[in-house]
């Protein structure tokens, strides 16, 4: 295929069977030389046509989305899944803030960066990948990073999953994810291929065995970051 290329994504090699040059440029931070691939991603022409209409996207962008769906379908075979969330590292510990679009995830991670400066690095603003293949859960970036395109090709140990909710005051609580199953599961990519979702659930279940889950009710202010930080890192208050 004319525009076929290879990327390294979440520790896997992916062969991208693209037709449009846009897709390669979109993935430029992840390119690797041609090699044996773990996953082959192929865009679906019907999906491209549908996305061009529903998202008012051009063919190149629609193809790149379709390629990511193709990857997301196969990631559970490798104990990984795509999550809809904004992720940062704080002192190299990965945190993912999950919430429906429009809640304020991007605003919140921007404030982390503003408050804690170089101690915070943005991993991915929209669709990072959770990796349960090793002993320690990890979070990886991807080229798919939402409208702001905040992403850096990095990986971090996953320290916390935080469900973000808009509120009039700031509060964080450690919770059982089972109390918020609808909200959590709705932010996890659901593979359509047979058995894919069961593998995703198994991976997510494994994640919550070791990674704590929090509910953060917050305002779009610096105070929300301070409250979140103190809840997530209770022994580090002296570092404020």
């Amino acid at each position: 295929m004319k525009n076929c290329f290879y990327i390294s994504l979440a520790g896997l090699t992916v062969q991208m069977n693209a037709k449009h040059p846009f897709s390669k440029d979109f993935c430029k931070d992840y390119l690797v030389p041609a090699q044996t691939a773990d996953i082959t991603a192929t865009a679906d022409d019907n999906q491209i046509a549908a996305d061009m209409t529903s998202l008012n996207a051009d063919a190149g962008y629609a193809e790149s989305i379709s390629l990511y769906r193709s990857i997301a379908e196969k990631l559970p075979d490798f104990s990984r899944f795509v999550i809809h969330g904004a992720s940062v590292t704080f002192d190299n510990k990965g945190i993912v803030f999950i919430a429906p679009s429009g809640t304020g995830k991007s605003t919140h991670i921007k404030l982390w960066r503003k408050v804690f400066k170089s101690r915070v690095d943005i991993i991915n603003g929209d669709k990072p990948i959770i990796d349960l293949s090793g002993q320690t859960p990890k979070i990886w970036s991807s080229p798919y990073a939402g409208k702001e395109n905040w992403q850096k090709n990095v990986c971090a140990p996953l320290y916390a999953v935080v469900l973000l909710r808009r509120a009039k005051s700031d509060r964080i609580n450690k919770e059982q994810p089972s109390k918020y199953l609808s909200e959590v599961i709705s932010q996890i990519y659901k593979p359509k291929q047979s058995g894919g979702f069961a593998k995703t659930v198994a991976a997510a279940d494994k994640m919550f065995k070791t990674v704590p889950f929090y509910i953060l009710e917050c305002t779009p202010t610096d105070n929300a970051v301070k409250v979140a930080h103190d809840g997530l890192f209770p022994t580090q208050e002296e570092n404020k």
């Binding site: 059982q176 089972s178 709705s186 593979p191 359509k192 659930v201 919550f208």
Partner: protein, 85 residues
Amino acid sequence: MKVNKNYVLSHFNDVNVLVDITGKFNGVIRLSATSADVWQAFSDGKSIEEAAGILCDKYDVSYDKALKDTQEFYDKLVENGLIEK
């Protein structure tokens, strides 16, 4: 009967849930252990009577009670489009 294949039974964080993998219904449906067993039986092609029998084998319940509960659960599934008659 025909089980709606868009709904997948999952065990997440010690809870049994039915999830619509198409994402059209974004919530989850929580199932008790017995309801999950009945859903699994229906998914495996068992009839209402056979599903009730499975409950009797697994739990300390009379066949009549199991049949009544299974029928009620089946009716709810049909009503909500999770099973086609």
